[in-house]
């Protein structure tokens, strides 16, 4: 017990109090900072649901058929049908790379995977809206919805249709297509609110509750699991007739 010594507890009391007060003052902002929403890159903007609907529908030209799995088809004068991915999808994902595209000469069926949209490690399968033989493959489709003429530049294939009249019956056209897009945007808002909560994200990150504004390219900051749910919810080939 020779080593036993007393510490004068009053010698350092003042500083100890200051440290404890400092801790109590700092722990609150520290914890708030830890729980604050993830710092999102400034390129992300919020738009009201109405603005999103307007932006998407205004870009859909006449004569375009939309498929419920978010692909589109357009019958050209030449008799070939151009197909691609709709701007609702691209405005939700942000810029993507197209991979696993088919080559000219291959035959594709309605509902077959026509390619994959990749963004880092995340991907979505997209399905062909028509059956037929691929005549041309677009080697450099536009990667982003930002381009004003997406339906002109982001087509994936020109297909010689096998039965156009049957395929077109299962797609949406003109006013019906517009109404459907509005519903899809409502669904997207609900989906993002649900999915972000489910995976522990702060929903405020992607959706502003007041007025229901949605973050542009919301899927860009989402992890793979939310992409997988998005695939099942919005691009589900089982829903194709």
């Amino acid at each position: 017990m020779n080593d036993f010594s007393h510490v004068d507890i009053f010698a350092t009391k003042g500083i100890e109090y200051l440290i404890v007060i400092g801790f109590l003052i700092l722990i609150i902002p520290f914890w708030k900072y830890l729980n604050s929403p993830v710092n999102i890159s400034p390129v992300f903007k919020f738009s009201s649901a109405k603005a999103v609907v307007n932006r998407i529908t205004s870009k859909i030209p006449q004569g375009i058929f939309l498929d419920p799995t978010h692909s589109w088809a357009f019958m050209q004068r030449s008799g070939l049908v151009r197909v691609g991915v709709d701007n609702f999808l691209l405005s939700t994902t942000g810029p993507v790379n197209y991979i696993d595209l088919h080559q000219p000469g291959e035959v594709i069926k309605r509902g077959d995977i026509m390619g994959r949209l990749m963004q880092g490690r995340k991907s979505l399968n997209v399905y062909s809206p028509v059956s037929g033989k691929i005549q041309k493959t677009n080697k450099h489709p536009d990667k982003s919805e930002q381009s004003s003429d997406i339906f002109d530049k982001s087509w994936l294939y020109a297909i010689e249709p096998e039965n156009w009249s049957r395929d077109m019956k299962n797609m949406l056209f003109a006013k019906k297509a517009e109404d459907w897009i509005k519903k899809e945007i409502d669904r997207l808002r609900d989906f993002l609110a649900f999915a972000t909560q489910k995976y522990g994200y702060n929903p405020g990150m992607v959706i502003l509750q007041e007025g229901g504004a949605i973050m542009d390219e919301a899927l860009r900051i989402m992890p793979e699991d939310i992409w997988a749910e998005f695939q099942a919810e919005f691009i589900n080939a089982n829903k194709m007739v």
Binding site: V7, T12, F23, V38, P223, E224
Partner: protein
């Protein structure tokens, strides 16, 4: 257990005896000549040989332990550090079963298994260090309980906690053996075992620190404080969770075929949750360290050699990983979480060894340095634990299926 596996088990049970089934399960699965096996097998064989020599010829034949340094690497690393690393089990079970945060359910079994094995092997390594190992039973059977010693508390806690974690894990064993009714009974015991286990953990994590309270004057003043038990307890929270992050990342990679795609995806999100808890606890821990430093009036010692070493431990392996944990949350970067957890683990090893080995008899003329044999035995114990862990994960439903039906 998936349907194919349950059919396999029931077929095995109906056609052959349980003994035959167990024999069958004992056979190795997969390739034998993997880099891990090639490295670990010789070390394990050598380690076991050294352990035999130790029991045959005594501690002095293989260790550098002496009357003045009776506890060396085996206690400092295997027991004191290993138990801190096993702290994840009580933190995760507390969150899932008591706070009802189901989010962490998928990692409960693997964490509890790790906790159990850590106690079994690392605390089991205590036997190696006892001069008369057969006396280990004394505090249990009452041949002089020794209630005035912290070791009495530690001995009972270790034993009871091993039982508690075994009960928590036992439903998985029952599922593996296809014993549905037994599993149901064991499931009903889980919540009791969890509450019991958490109580024991909070006490013995600090109890391990309390062991060193009687070594005042032998431990460097920067590491000796009457608050060692509290520091050990608080640091065991982030030590255990960092181990869960680090070991979980390896497990999910090695046994990736056992984990569903869905669980793989959720795992990243779990890591961020754990990172947040680590950052919060480390923040509090740093203030405690500062408070103790001021309270004990040791600020002047910081400019000595040991002072720099202390600063490296606290700044490099507590403050830095804490900042990295925060950074990982802000950037949603899993890699940073893993780096931070690794730094935290190194920091815990440093801290525990600073108290038990490096800062122990720091002013002695002849310092204790572990022999190569002590190091080999330590490595051998770690490898044996990994082998047993791997054997269990390959066979029992630890990662394969984690649903609400079988998790409780």
């Amino acid at each position: 257990m998936n349907s194919a596996e349950s059919i396999r088990v029931s077929t095995l049970k109906s056609k052959r005896s349980v003994g035959q089934f167990l024999l069958d399960e004992l056979k190795p699965k997969g390739k034998f000549f993997t880099p891990f096996n090639i490295i670990s097998v010789p070390i394990m064989v050598l380690g076991l040989a050294i352990i035999i020599i130790r029991f045959w010829k005594g501690l002095g034949s293989v260790t550098n332990l002496s009357q003045s340094v009776p506890w060396g690497l085996w206690i400092g690393f295997d027991v004191v550090t290993g138990v801190a690393f096993a702290g994840g089990a009580y933190v995760i079970t507390f969150m899932v079963y008591i706070l009802n945060i189901k989010h962490y359910q998928p990692i409960v079994r693997v964490t509890v298994l790790n906790g159990f094995l850590a106690y079994l092997f690392y605390a089991g390594a205590l036997l190696l260090d006892l001069g008369r190992p057969w006396n280990v039973i004394n505090p249990i059977i009452g041949n002089s309980f020794g209630t005035s010693s912290v070791l009495f508390l530690v001995a009972w806690h270790f034993m009871l906690y091993m039982f508690a974690t075994l009960i928590e894990f036992s439903p998985a064993v029952a599922e593996w053996l296809g014993m549905k009714r037994v599993r149901k009974i064991l499931n009903s015991l889980t919540i009791g075992a969890v509450i019991f286990g958490i109580t024991l953990s909070t006490l013995h994590q600090s109890g391990l620190g309390a062991l060193y309270l009687m070594a005042k004057g032998k431990i460097h003043p920067l590491w000796y404080t009457e608050f060692i038990p509290i520091l050990f307890f608080v640091s065991s929270i982030f030590a255990g969770l960092s181990m869960v992050i680090f070991e979980g990342s390896i497990t999910y990679r090695v046994f990736s075929h056992k984990v569903s795609a869905d669980e793989h995806k959720k795992h990243d999100n779990l890591l961020f949750g754990l990172a947040k808890i680590c950052a919060g606890t480390m923040f509090a821990y740093l203030f405690m360290k500062l408070l103790i430093l001021v309270h004990d009036q040791h600020l002047a010692l910081l400019t000595s050699g040991y002072g720099y070493w202390y600063i490296i431990e606290v700044v490099g392996f507590v403050l830095l990983p804490m900042i990295l944990f925060v950074q990982s949350l802000k950037t949603r970067n899993v890699v940073i979480v893993k780096i931070a957890s690794l730094l935290t683990l190194i920091g815990i090893i440093l801290n525990r060894l600073n108290v038990t080995v490096i800062g122990f008899h720091w002013d002695a003329v002849v310092r204790y340095v572990p022999t190569w044999m002590e190091i080999v035995v330590t490595l051998a114990i770690i490898f044996i634990e990994i082998w047993v862990f791997r054997w269990i994960v390959h066979r029992m439903p630890v990662l394969d299926k984690v649903s609400s039906s079988n998790s409780r």
